[in-house]
């Protein structure tokens, strides 16, 4: 296979939604609603071994065990919130892909907004300060002469 074809395959695999793998990684359950819930829940939880994968995507032992735990809890009639709380009690907020909004995560949530508005403020300031430098401002006779000298021509007439 040529390099280009390999790159194409890599791009194609990379473009597949993560949940496509997630759904595959979960063994099928009898009840389709419970199965959907299990996939949705495990898609929100981080695998602590691989860290950049959800426990739905990961095939680490711990992810398998946690998926099993989720299925057991669904079977036991636990609500989604109870299952999430169960995981957070043991592994902390880090297990959540959507961190909760609290004092310690305020910067995390507000950061992108702050950066955006900060950048906007800088942009406005730069644009304002440029307003003084009109491109059509007439050159002084000295500037004109200097430019002409540099361009190797004689003094030119004032533009109409």
């Amino acid at each position: 296979m040529s390099v280009a074809a390999l790159v194409l395959v890599a791009l194609w695999v990379g473009a597949m939604p993560a949940s496509a793998f997630g759904a595959q990684a979960l063994p099928t359950m009898e009840d389709p609603i419970a199965a959907t819930r299990a996939v949705r829940l495990s898609d929100q939880l981080r695998c602590l071994v691989c860290q950049n994968q959800t426990i739905a995507e990961s095939n680490a032992e711990l992810a398998l065990d946690l998926r099993q735990k989720i299925r057991e809890q669904i079977a036991a009639g636990k609500t989604d919130d109870e299952i999430i709380a169960y995981m957070v009690d043991r592994y902390g907020d880090f297990v959540l892909y959507r961190p909760p909004l609290k004092a310690t995560t305020l910067l995390l949530w507000a950061g992108p907004g702050l950066l955006f508005f900060g950048g906007l403020a800088v942009l406005v300031r730069v644009l304002r300060s440029r307003r003084g430098l009109e491109p059509g401002a007439p050159l002084s006779p000295e500037d004109r002469e200097r430019a002409a000298r540099l361009l190797g021509a004689g003094p030119t007439k004032e533009a109409p």
Binding site: L48, D65, R90
Partner: protein, 175 residues
């Protein structure tokens, strides 16, 4: 001049953050279990499966719970330290044999030395989940009331033992 100083300042701040970031260990996640009661469990002992061990059995004592397995490579790394600590008789060490075959576990202990007062078998890793275990080895310091006071993620190091665990154990024993 000012025009140069601002980007330079921003760059230096960024550099500082990136440099600090290099020193962080992303595998160390603060455990929510610190200062919480150790999860309750009752498991069969590795050497004698007819006998069990439960969290409450250590009430009134400071103890260490060390999560280990025969398949765990870093466990080998920390094991000599545990054996040395076990010899000092400073603190009881309970081993949690995590997701392991009992026979492989016992063989591992006979080749590498057994620093544990006893080991318990967590064949399917359920107790491990209750303790928030995600990277073996892990070591918990549990106080007289059964509260988790410290968690070492990954192999014990001489520095961690000398600077954190041993002083903490002494402190807890005297309180």
């Amino acid at each position: 001049m000012n025009k140069l100083l601002i980007p330079l300042g921003v760059f230096l701040v960024l550099l500082t953050f990136l440099f600090l970031g290099l020193g962080l260990n992303p595998r160390e996640i603060p455990s929510p279990l610190i200062d919480k009661p150790a999860p309750h469990f009752k498991l069969a002992q590795l050497q004698d499966p007819t006998r069990t061990f439960a969290t409450g059995d250590m009430k009134g004592q400071v103890w260490l719970l060390n999560v280990w397995a025969s398949w765990c490579v870093s466990c080998r790394e920390e094991h000599p330290l545990l054996v040395a600590l076990g010899k000092t008789k400073l603190v009881p060490i309970i081993g949690l044999n995590y997701k392991d075959e009992a026979s492989a576990g016992m063989k591992w202990l006979s080749t590498n030395g057994d620093p544990y007062n006893l080991s318990i078998v967590d064949r399917d890793g359920r107790v491990g989940i209750d303790f928030g275990v995600y990277g073996v080895p892990e070591t918990f310091v549990i106080d007289k009331n059964g509260t988790i006071r410290y968690k070492q993620i990954g192999p014990l190091t001489a520095a961690a033992l000398e600077q954190k665990i041993v002083p903490l154990v002494r402190d807890l024993q005297n309180s």
